[in-house]
Symmetry: C2
């Protein structure tokens, strides 16, 4: 269907805003690689119904991103952290080992 | 009604998920300090209708926070940035001036 990496990232940010059922089906389809037919059987519904639900959820995730931009901000943040650490390293001769530690720390803030 | 500072912060994070109308009324009430009666008049509706809308929006904002925790994460992030800068300053004798610059930079990441 759509780009799996993008959807997986969007799910990381906005998954909690979907219902439990929607979230479960998105996980099955995009992370666990179950087919539409398999998910339909597990839910005792049609392949088309699952297809529609996934499409609706994807649109919902895109809509959240268009309003909150959490994914885009996180991409920008990573770039800025790299620039910041580069500057820090040049100006204060910080150990490489520490730079790696700080990178991880700042990315998880 | 509820704590204005908390609501103002929640609006910073989740305001874009409200409708334009809801967002406008929340701004009027919590930022611009308009009364329920004034907002009701502007919207040609009752004071009670505005009161209910604001209450509903507040619950909606709390629901978003309970799912995404953006406000709580941002509070934690600020504390961790302070700790990180404290460590950096002690270990690499960073200028105070730079510490202030870095604090602002990291808080805006």
């Amino acid at each position: 269907m759509e780009d799996r990496v993008e959807i997986s990232l969007l799910m990381d940010f906005y998954g909690p805003l979907l219902t439990e059922k929607q979230s479960e089906i998105m996980q099955w389809y995009y992370n666990d690689d179950l087919s539409l037919a398999e998910i339909a059987e597990l839910n005792q519904t049609s392949r088309q119904a699952i297809h529609d639900l996934i499409k609706r959820c994807y649109k919902q995730l895109l809509s959240y991103e268009s309003k909150l931009n959490l994914l885009q901000k996180s991409i920008n943040r990573k770039k800025e952290i790299m620039n910041f650490l580069e500057h820090l390293k040049n100006k204060y001769s910080i150990d490489d080992e520490d730079i790696i530690k700080y990178k991880e720390k700042l990315e998880n803030l």
